[in-house]
C-alpha cells in the first residue's frame, strides 16, 4: 500500500507546509536583521545591509562577559546533571524497587512545573539558608532542571540494553565494575553525550529560573532579556540573537545524529 501512503491530500500538504513556515520564518528574519543598517527601529524591509554590527558586538565587553558566564554555567550544570541523571537512570532501570515511579516524577517535576515556581522556591530556599547569590546558585538552579534531559536519554538507552547482556558479562567473569566499564558505558555513551548536549543547550538558553537564582551577574539570556525590556543598541542585540540561534543548533543536530537509530532525543522533555 505504498503508493496509497504516498498520496497525500493537497489541503493537508498546504496546511503542513504553512505550519512549518510559521515555525521557521521568524527565526530566518533574525538572520536578516543582523545585517540591517537601521539603528533606531525594527523597520522592514531594512533600508540597507551591513556587516559592521558584527564588529561592534565583537568589541562589547558586556556581551563577552555574559557569553563566558553562560558557557561556564552550562558546562558545570551539564556535568552535574550528567552524574545525577545517570545515577538515577541506572538505579531505575537496573533494579526493581518500590517507588521508582516516584523517582521518575521527581526528576520530571522541575521541568513540569512552571519555571517561575522552581525559581521562586529555590530563591527563597537560598535566602532562608542565607546562601548569597553567586555563580554556584545559578549552576545549582540549572542542574536541577537539566537532570531530566540526561535522565530521559539514559533511561531510553538503558531500556535497550537487554538484561541478558549484563548477565552475560557477569557470567563470563566480569564483576560489577568491569561490567559497567566494558559493557554498560560503551552502550550508553552516545546517549549520555546526546543528553549532555541537550542539557547544555537547555542551560545556555534558560532565563526564567536564572532571574531568581542569579545575583548581579548576567548570563547571556539575562543580557538579552534586559535588551528586550530596555533596548540600548538594537543592532548588537540582533547580532547576538543570530549567534545564539547558531550556537544552539549545533548541539541539537549533534544530539540528533547520536541518537537517530532507535530512541528519539527527549525533545518533549524540554
Amino acid at each position: 500500500m505504498r503508493s496509497e501512503r504516498n498520496r497525500s491530500p493537497l489541503g493537508l500538504k498546504i496546511a503542513a507546509a504553512a505550519g512549518l513556515a510559521f515555525m521557521h520564518v521568524p527565526i530566518l528574519l533574525i538572520f536578516l536583521y543582523a545585517f540591517t543598517t537601521e539603528e533606531k527601529s525594527y523597520q522592514f524591509p531594512p533600508p540597507g545591509l551591513t556587516t559592521q554590527w558584527f564588529a561592534v558586538a565583537w568589541n562589547r565587553p558586556d556581551v563577552w562577559a555574559a557569553l563566558t558566564l553562560s558557557v561556564k554555567v552550562a558546562s558545570i550544570a551539564t556535568a552535574v546533571a550528567l552524574v545525577l541523571g545517570t545515577l538515577c537512570a541506572a538505579a531505575v532501570s537496573q533494579t526493581r524497587f518500590f517507588g521508582r515511579e516516584t523517582i521518575s516524577l521527581l526528576v520530571i517535576l522541575p521541568i513540569a512545573l512552571p519555571g517561575i515556581i522552581t525559581g521562586i522556591a529555590l530563591r527563597s530556599a537560598f535566602s532562608m539558608a542565607e546562601i548569597p547569590f553567586s555563580f554556584w546558585t545559578i549552576v545549582l538552579g540549572h542542574a536541577t532542571f537539566c537532570i531530566v534531559v540526561v535522565y530521559n536519554n539514559a533511561v531510553a538507552r538503558f531500556r535497550r540494553i537487554s538484561g541478558s547482556l549484563i548477565e552475560a558479562s557477569m557470567d563470563l567473569g566480569a564483576d560489577g565494575f568491569q561490567t559497567f566499564r566494558y559493557i554498560i558505558l560503551p552502550n550508553i555513551g552516545t546517549a549520555l553525550l546526546a543528553g549532555g548536549m541537550l542539557a547544555f543547550a537547555l542551560s545556555f538558553d534558560e532565563v526564567i529560573v536564572t532571574t531568581f537564582t542569579a545575583g548581579q551577574q548576567s548570563t547571556l539570556p539575562i543580557w538579552m532579556l534586559e535588551e528586550l525590556i530596555r533596548p540600548r543598541q538594537r543592532p548588537v542585540t540582533n547580532v547576538v540573537a543570530m549567534i545564539v540561534v547558531l550556537v544552539t543548533f549545533l548541539p541539537i543536530l549533534g544530539a540528533y545524529y547520536l541518537t537517530r537509530d532507535g530512541d528519539q532525543i527527549a525533545g518533549a522533555g524540554k
Binding site: E167, D171, L172, G173, A174, P186, N187
Partner: protein, 332 residues
C-alpha cells in the same frame, strides 16, 4: 565419576509464586542433562540458580562439591549460552569471544589465539572481525557457544539454545552440540520445551511442571514409562487410561499409560489385552494414521501404520496391545 551439580531440596519463591519448589537432582560429570517442561515450569529458574543469577530461598546447591549459594556468577566456573545469545553489540566477534579471558586478565596475544581457536571449533574461522549484527541467527548461536566454551567451564548451561533457529538448522545443531559435548567431556545442562530435542540429545531428562520435577530418567524411561499423567501428556502423547478401564484390564493402580504406537487395530493375539470401542476420528500423519477410538467414553489414540486400511468413523473396532505396554502411573 563425581557429581557436577547437586540440588538438595532447592526452592526459589518469588513472593507467593513458587518458581522452583523443593527440587532434588544430581547431575553427573560429563553428562548431557536436559531440563524439559512448559514455560513457567521452573526449568529456566533452575538454570539461573546454577549460573548464579538467582539465589535459592531454600535448600542447598553444590557444584563439583563446592557450595554455590552466595557465590556471584562471575566467580563460578560455569558459563551460559543465552536464549537470545546476548552477544555484545559494540564488540567484534573476536572481542566477544575473548571477553571472558580479557576480564580475567589474560594477555592480549594469548586471548586472541584462544578466541580464534574457539571460533574454529564452532566452524566460524575468519569471522572474528565482524560485528554480531552482521551474522545470521545460526552463526550468532555458534559465537555464543564459542564465547562460553573458551573459558573452559566445568558446566555449560544452555537456555533454549536452538529455540530461535529454523527446523533444518536446529537438527544440524542438535547433532553438532552432541558431538561437541562428547569430545570436550564438559557437563552440559540444557533447558528446552521441545520434547523431541530433549529425547534425541540428552543422556538424562528431568521433566518439570509447576516448579517441581515430575520425572527424572533416561529418555527411554521418560518416554515409555511416564510416571505421571503430566509426563505422559507432555512427552509424546501417551494415552492415559482412566480407573474404569484399568479395572477392566486388571491393572492395580488408578491410572495407566499406553503409547499410541503400541496399539494395534486388530483382534488380540496370544496373551494380548484388548478393548472394544468405536472409531470417533482419524487423520493422516504421513507414516501413520492417527485413529481415535472411543472406549466407554475414554478417547484412545492409536498410531496405525499408513499401509493398513482405516476403519470408517462410527464403525466398531477392537484394539489390542501387549500387557507389558501398559504402564501403571503413580498419580493423576
Amino acid at each position: 565419576m563425581s557429581t557436577a551439580v547437586l540440588f538438595d531440596n532447592v526452592s526459589r519463591h518469588f513472593g507467593a509464586v513458587r518458581a522452583v519448589d523443593g527440587v532434588n537432582l544430581e547431575i553427573a560429570e560429563g553428562e548431557f542433562f536436559a531440563m524439559l517442561g512448559p514455560s513457567g515450569s521452573g526449568k529456566t529458574t533452575c538454570l539461573r540458580l546454577m549460573a548464579g543469577f538467582e539465589q535459592p530461598t531454600g535448600g542447598h546447591i553444590e557444584i563439583f562439591g563446592e557450595t554455590a549459594e552466595g557465590v556471584p556468577p562471575y566467580r563460578r566456573s560455569v558459563n551460559t549460552v543465552f536464549q537470545d545469545y546476548a552477544l555484545f553489540p559494540h564488540l567484534s566477534i573476536l572481542d566477544n569471544v575473548a571477553y571472558g579471558l580479557m576480564v580475567k586478565g589474560v594477555g592480549r596475544e594469548e586471548r586472541r589465539k584462544a578466541a580464534e581457536d574457539a571460533l574454529a571449533m564452532v566452524k566460524l574461522p575468519n569471522y572474528g572481525s565482524r560485528r554480531p549484527g552482521q551474522l545470521s541467527g545460526g552463526q550468532r548461536q555458534r559465537v555464543a557457544l564459542a564465547r562460553a566454551l573458551v573459558n573452559k567451564p566445568k558446566v555449560l548451561l544452555l537456555d533454549e539454545p536452538l529455540g530461535a533457529l529454523d527446523l533444518k538448522l536446529r537438527e544440524q545443531m542438535q547433532e553438532e552440540l552432541k558431538t561437541l559435548q562428547k569430545s570436550l567431556g564438559i557437563t552440559f545442562v540444557f533447558v528446552t520445551h521441545d520434547q523431541g530435542e530433549a529425547l534425541s540429545m540428552a543422556d538424562r531428562i528431568a521433566v518439570f511442571n509447576d516448579g517441581r520435577i515430575q520425572q527424572l530418567g533416561s529418555p527411554e524411561e521418560v518416554y515409555k514409562q511416564p510416571k505421571t499423567r503430566f509426563v505422559a501428556d507432555f512427552v509424546g502423547s501417551s494415552n492415559v487410561l482412566p480407573a474404569k478401564l484399568c479395572q477392566k484390564l486388571g491393572v492395580r493402580s488408578a491410572y495407566a499409560s499406553l503409547r499410541p504406537e503400541a496399539i494395534a487395530l486388530s483382534a488380540p493375539g496370544e496373551g494380548a489385552l484388548s478393548l472394544n470401542g468405536t472409531v470417533s476420528a482419524h487423520s493422516f500423519l504421513g507414516a501413520v494414521n492417527r485413529v481415535v477410538v472411543d472406549v466407554d467414553g475414554a478417547r484412545i489414540a492409536v498410531a496405525s501404520p499408513a499401509a493398513l486400511a482405516v476403519p470408517k468413523v462410527g464403525s466398531p473396532v477392537t484394539i489390542s496391545f501387549a500387557a507389558h505396554e501398559l504402564h501403571p502411573m503413580e498419580d493423576a
